[in-house]
């Protein structure tokens, strides 16, 4: 047990008044941490502790007159080691001024729930005065002299705020580029410009969707008009947006999966024991999550408004699923931490959910990359549309036996056509094919996964 007493405070100072006691029983005190605010004839002083440990008892109160050498509190010195030092009491979480992270759900969803729009709590200047009116006795009107606006208000000068208001910009939405996030006049102007651009783009998209009026088809024969399902609407809007905003490039190549297919067949029984079917899609999920570690620009999103690229440190792979209700993209979360059996199980579970219309919004959110496998139906290649705000998508077509020239002669090999579409804003062509080659090599030589993945 150690004691903390009022230390020497300076020449001719015998006593002081306690303004604030900064510790309470149970707190962990570190040496040199401020524990008291004292006021002497000369000044207000913050007094640092010369002991460390867990506070057992505090012997003084705010307002007390104390003398040099007087006992203030006792600490249990062993208590310090047991518990990590606590943060100062001020270290409470600050209210967040910025909006929630950009909504991530533009994936078509079965649920009605739209993506949560970023909400900024508006701090209104309307006074919320504090008046203490005890029922009996003197009325005391507390001097609550500050409006409650400060809490969430953006750091911008009055002139900047005025301009923002006049040109219809919510200053709290503007990203400040000044020190401490201060919003400058130019930030407001840039924000306004971007708002207009986005509005124009949105109008453009709408214009495209509405296009020209449709002709009267009934002139030519019977027609039936059916309202779009919710999924169809969302798919249409989402894909139009992706198509319009992302400059797409699609890269084609083929993987020789002869060996892989042999292995898949020979392993089928083992897989069955685990209750799954080993599919190319499951293997691709594993390969893609490894490839994204080597090529982080494929696990990113573009923020043109703030001129930033967001790199994700998690590896969630979406798989386009064709259901009778329409296209949905459930997401395999943290695919990099699963083996292929686990991935297969997860795919089965999600596919089952999807077909039973039981997929929740959470199952469709948070994707980093999408795989769309149409090979089961056919096709030699296609150009998938990137599932914005992701930046790449891998399309898989139907594998077929092709003659491949190997060691001086043609050999029949099972070739799998792959189509990689990517966002050319942040992925260069050379990286596009490097990524696809990496995937193909991993398919052709699974050792690569073990060595590099």
């Amino acid at each position: 047990m150690k004691q903390f007493v009022i230390p020497e405070l300076g020449e001719n100072i015998q006593s002081a008044t306690i303004v604030k006691v900064l510790i309470k029983p149970g707190d962990i005190v570190q040496q040199d941490q401020s524990v008291l605010e004292l006021e002497t004839d000369k000044a207000t002083i913050e007094v640092p502790s010369d002991v460390s440990g867990k506070v057992v008892e505090v012997k003084v109160n705010e307002g007390d007159q104390v003398e040099i050498g007087q006992l203030v509190f006792t600490v249990d010195a062993d208590g310090a080691a047991a518990t990590a030092p606590e943060e100062k009491k001020e270290a409470q979480p600050a209210p967040v001024v910025e909006a929630a992270a950009p909504a991530e759900t533009p994936v078509p969803a079965t649920s009605e729930a739209p993506a949560p729009a970023p909400v900024i709590e508006e701090q209104v200047a309307a006074p919320a005065p504090v008046v203490n009116t005890p029922v009996a006795g003197p009325k005391v009107i507390a001097v609550e002299n500050q409006p409650p606006i400060l809490q969430n208000a953006a750091p911008a000068a009055p002139s900047v705020r005025r301009l923002a208001r006049e040109i219809g910009v919510d200053v709290n939405q503007v990203k400040g580029t000044g020190p401490g996030g201060r919003i400058l006049l130019d930030d407001v102007k840039l924000h306004s410009k971007l708002m207009h651009q986005q509005r124009n783009e949105a109008q453009h998209i709408r214009a495209e969707q509405h296009q020209q009026p449709l002709p009267d088809f009934s002139k030519y024969g019977d027609v039936e008009t059916i309202a779009m399902s919710n999924i169809r609407q969302k798919t249409a809007e989402h894909l139009s947006h992706a198509w319009h905003t992302i400059p797409h490039v699609t890269q084609f190549d083929k993987a020789d999966i002869t060996q892989l297919e042999e292995f898949r067949k020979s392993y089928a029984k083992t897989a069955e024991k685990f209750g799954v079917k080993l599919t190319v899609t499951a293997i691709l999920v594993k390969i893609i999550s490894s490839a994204m570690k080597t090529f982080p620009q494929f696990n990113a999103s573009v923020d043109m408004q703030n001129k930033t690229i967001v790199y994700k440190k998690y590896f969630n792979i979406g798989i386009a699923v064709d259901t009778e209700f329409g296209l949905i993209v459930p997401v395999i979360k943290n695919a990099d931490r699963m083996n292929i059996i686990e991935i297969s199980k997860e795919i089965n579970a999600l596919a089952e959910k999807a077909r039973n219309k039981k997929v929740g919004v959470a199952d469709l959110q948070g994707g980093c990359f999408t795989i769309t496998n149409l090979g089961g139906i056919g096709g030699t290649s296609f150009t998938p549309i990137v599932n914005s705000p992701e930046v790449a998508i891998l399309g898989v077509s139907k594998g077929s036996i092709e003659p491949v020239y190997i060691n001086g002669k043609f050999e029949p090999r099972l070739m799998l056509p792959l189509s990689l579409s990517y966002d050319h804003r942040i992925i260069d062509g050379a990286d596009g094919i490097r990524f696809l080659r990496w995937v193909i090599e991993a398919l052709e030589n699974p050792m690569k996964l073990i060595i590099e993945g």
């Binding site: 006074p127 009325k139 005391v140 009107i141 002299n145 809490q151 401490g180």
Partner: protein
């Protein structure tokens, strides 16, 4: 086509609105019960109290001068002359406002206005005649009235309120100030300097509730010498007049009833809005349960043609808030997108030492769970404060530790009211504490304490050694 504007109430909100509207080319009528604009602030508030506090400061400093080797002797106080000095200040300023009003061709009408509809008022003049005035837009700026406790409101010339206290009826031998807010403490300080034995009774556990305790403590220490008694957590339960005295029963913090006798009692428990008699029932204006008129960010009420500014729309009831709102309301009327959304409204208590703050207080930050750090510079380390023999001050900056943005500043010490202007600008500009540390402040002045507090945040003020926190 210019708009017809009626402004009701000629205080710092009303005359600012009237003058600005006129400057923007509107036809303005300003209605007030006094001969000239000015309102409570100029006639019965800020201005006369500051004139008297200036005198109080002079008296106190002349006493302190003894310890510097200068003895002026006991002051002789000519109360009539002092009163007429104060009245002269008021006349000069209100007369000036009257002139400014005339120069702008504002139709100044003396009388009491009430709405007859959403587009007209009726003014009842002193001679009993009435006049109807129609308007496109009206601004209500009728301010607040002195709050009272009916059970303690006895008929006696010895029971003062802030208005009658400013008229200096006498220098009481003993004076009880009911309410430890800024009005009571300022007026109490005046009477204490003039020679009264002043006591204060306050319901809360501290003087100036709302201000941070570390700012108030310097004042409290000084007042505990200047005043006879400061009774906290206490309340007056009865006041009776007996002969030449008022007998006051006070319930102290131990719930015991004490009886004290005073020459005079000053009730200063605050101010409240009053909308009765304004004829709001003839409009769509709404009043909330606390009596304040409800207005939006542009100060427009629920009636599209009526705006309201100043005390009548709520706390803080401060002249400078009202004048700022006046500009917002007039801007809005003129078609601009205007909103009242200050980041800081400075508050100043003109006691000795003065206490001033702007932005967020430490109390508020703690209550609201806002993450903050403080940097405090004690004036004992200020050269300028030492030359004034006034080391009893502190400058405190409240900072967001993540962005280092200045969230609030509190100052206690002589001249704090002037120093807070820099703080207010810093907060409004979204300044970081580094900006304050890197701005050259003139030496030797008290304003340096702002810079040095900012330097302390980084652990290296020249004039205060603080071992590194880590």
């Amino acid at each position: 086509m210019s708009k017809n504007i009626v402004v009701i109430g000629g205080g710092p909100g009303g005359y600012a609105a009237a003058f600005y509207a006129s400057d923007l080319g509107m036809n303005v009528t300003l209605v007030d019960m006094e001969k000239n604009p000015g309102g409570v602030c100029l006639y019965r508030g800020c201005i006369p109290s500051k004139a008297l506090l200036h005198v109080a400061k002079l008296i106190n400093e002349s006493k302190e001068a003894k310890s510097w080797g200068i003895d002026f002797g006991e002051p002789k106080i000519d109360l009539d002359k002092l009163r007429s000095y104060k009245d002269k200040v008021v006349r000069k300023l209100t007369g000036g406002l009257g002139l400014l009003s005339k120069q702008r061709n504002i139709n100044y009408v003396q009388g009491r206005a009430s709405f007859v509809s959403s587009n007209a008022i009726e003014v009842k003049k002193e001679d009993g005649s009435t006049e109807q005035i129609s308007f496109d837009k009206a601004i209500i700026a009728t301010g607040s009235v002195i709050a009272t406790i009916p059970s303690l409101q006895i008929e006696s010339k010895r029971l003062l309120n802030s208005t009658s206290a400013l008229n200096l009826p006498a220098i009481p031998k003993s004076l009880l100030v009911v309410g430890g807010g800024y009005i009571g403490l300022e007026l109490g300080s005046v009477y204490a300097a003039l020679g009264s034995q002043v006591s204060v009774v306050e319901f809360m556990d501290r003087l100036l509730p709302g201000a941070d305790q570390d700012l108030v403590s310097h004042l409290q220490k000084r007042l505990s010498k200047a005043f006879d008694k400061i009774m906290l957590q206490s309340k007056v339960v009865e006041i009776k007049e007996e002969g030449e005295e008022l007998v006051v029963k006070i319930e102290n913090k131990d719930k015991q009833i004490e009886e004290h006798r005073y020459d005079y009692v000053l009730m200063s428990i605050g101010r409240k809005p009053q909308t009765a008699g304004l004829g709001l029932e003839n409009t769509k204006v709404k009043v909330n349960e606390r009596g304040w008129i409800v207005a939006d960010k542009s100060l427009k009420t629920d009636d599209d043609s009526i705006y309201a500014i100043g005390d009548i729309v709520g706390e803080p009831m401060l002249a400078h808030k009202a004048s700022h709102e006046a500009r917002v309301a007039v801007d809005a009327i003129s078609g601009k997108k205007a909103a009242f959304e200050p980041l800081a409204i400075p508050a100043v208590v003109f006691t000795d030492p003065e206490i001033a703050w702007a932005g967020i207080t430490e109390n508020q930050a703690t209550e609201r769970g806002i993450k903050f750090e403080t940097a405090k510079f004690p004036w004992a380390a200020s050269g300028r404060a030492t030359t004034l023999d006034r080391s009893d001050g502190v400058t405190k900056i409240i900072v967001d530790p993540d962005t280092e943005r200045v969230l609030g500043i509190g100052i206690s010490g002589p001249g704090a009211g002037e120093l807070i202007a820099e703080a207010t600008l810093a907060i409004e500009m979204g300044a970081t504490i580094k900006d304050l540390a890197l701005t050259i402040h003139p030496h030797p002045t008290l304003s340096e304490t702002v810079m040095e507090a900012a330097e302390l945040f980084y652990g290296h003020s020249s004039h205060l050694y603080k071992p590194n926190k880590n």
